[in-house]
Amino acid sequence: MSDPILSVRSLTTVLHLAGGKLPVVRGVDFDISEGETVALVGESGSGKTLTMLSVMGLHPQPPAEIVEGEVRLAGEDLLRATERRRRQVRGADLAMVYQDPMTSLNPLMRVGDQIEEVLTAHGRSNAEAEARTLEVLSEVGIPQPDRARRSYPHEFSGGMRQRVVIAMALALRPKVLIADEPTTALDVTIQQQIISLVSDLQDTMGMAVVWITHDLGVVARVAERILVMYGGHIVETGTTSEVFRRPEHPYTAGLLAAVPQARGDLREELYQIPGAPPDPSRYPSGCPFHPRCPNSIDTCIDQMPPMTVRDGGTGTHAAACWVPPEDWVA
């Protein structure tokens, strides 16, 4: 395998709150290869969004602070780079789109001007910026780009607005696109359009895409590899097919069993993970999943298990669990 385009090691981000320091991202490691599609899966409070905001350098400061780790883009450690350099990288090499397109759009500015601003801030001339804006609006499937360019965000539907945001993120042809639940607020037929759009653009531009999502169906549809996050840690990683076929973390196994069948006449009681995902202010000790886990042993209560590659696999599949799947009771 070639060197990863994005490499994250021991990333630890805390929130400074009145009550003290809250560790939300707790030593996260992962690599993204060029052109790869990876899903970062987690539920609310898992730390998945703050992880990727920290990678982007867009974590809200205060209250968030990266206290440890490395974020390397093509070998360069961004956490030790100047803010000026970080701004250069953002947009040009790393870009992010959010669930709510209005997070990235200024409601009072024509969308063309907003995209052009990104381009001129990265050294493109006005003429280049205008030409690229028209081109990228057309690449994301917005009809009549010349008219769209002169429109305001509110003049677009939700799906079209998300396309505008994707156009803005891709204006500089980044190497990595981070897509944070970009389809969650959209109808399924529009969600499918956005998924197809991003996959097509990925093929033509060759960028890597990290989908942040809670939807296992979306993961199965788009991702080659999966990172499962729970309680601030990556708890399982592997190719999508090996993780879905034989999950090695009880949380992943529970999530997969909790989803109703989308086809066929089998309708059984759904598997129910007891309890609810933990709040970052009250992450449990040891393995954060232990209070909900049917397979937990004493060790789980006070020791966080390391990521473990088990025998018989391809070496790409790892999980942070003290108990091997063959010893699970559920």
Partner: protein, 328 residues
Amino acid sequence: MSILSATDLVKRYPIRGTRQELTAVAGVSLELGRGETLGIVGESGCGKSTLARLLVRLEEPTSGRVILDGSDITSLSSSELREVRRRIQLVFQDPYASLNPRVTVGRAIEEVLEVHRVRSEPEWKSRVGELLEMVGLASTFATRYPHQLSGGQRQRVGIARALAVEPEVLVLDEPVSALDVSVQSGIMNLLGRLRDELDLAYVFISHDLSMVRHISDRIAVMYLGRVVESGPWLPVSDEPLHPYTMALQEAVPTADPEAEAARQVAGVVGEVPDPANPPPGCAFHPRCPLAEEICVQVLPTLASLQDSHAAACHIAARRAGQPEATLA
């Protein structure tokens, strides 16, 4: 006999500052048997939430009728409505919005008993405990405040409040959509169990076809204010007749990478049209891969095409050997 039926329900809203009207529900008829679950699936703007509010008469229909156990609830006075609300209840997507943050869970349930004069005051406390246990919460939850609950626990409280009046019908509007995946399954299982134990009938409304097919006996698919397909859950979900349902089913990804890799998803073009300005003919025709001239001109009617499986589609009707509509 049906416990709940709706006949040709229409709801139009005036558009402020204009003389135009927006038709949110454009003539929906449905039947719900005792103990039965009717799933209603559709995307935003299809009118499913307005329909929910019409069924429990939180909104007045522009025309059409809702019949609950033989009596027309669309013509009742507000005092008579209270009796109706004891028999049919609405559960919302976000119970947080309907819970007063300063009122304990126990008091919030008690209020319902008080307003509807269910049982006598001395029994309330123990009844609150019973209701909480019925929805899978310890009776000690009665002393907690809404902010001390997780999303799933709040939805359980929402369900407990709805059950307090001992209704026969629950209208559930996106009851699990705001919840985490690992919590959704618990609520779905709870709804299934309560239905069996209390012999409840449900109208289960969601944008999520996989949840709807999981719990429903029959499914109605809505698009732009109309039912475009309805029938038993399995054929509607897995062998749909209407091209919109086909598109919906195809767009829903399944948590199975092998199946997903094998699928070629064509997708459907365009977006849901503006309900204030619907297309002529079949409202789906601008997005439909099968559309012909007739679809642009003539609104198809919902017709039974096979074994109580109905669709409102000219092409599906022709394929089923039904007489064809003709151009004017």
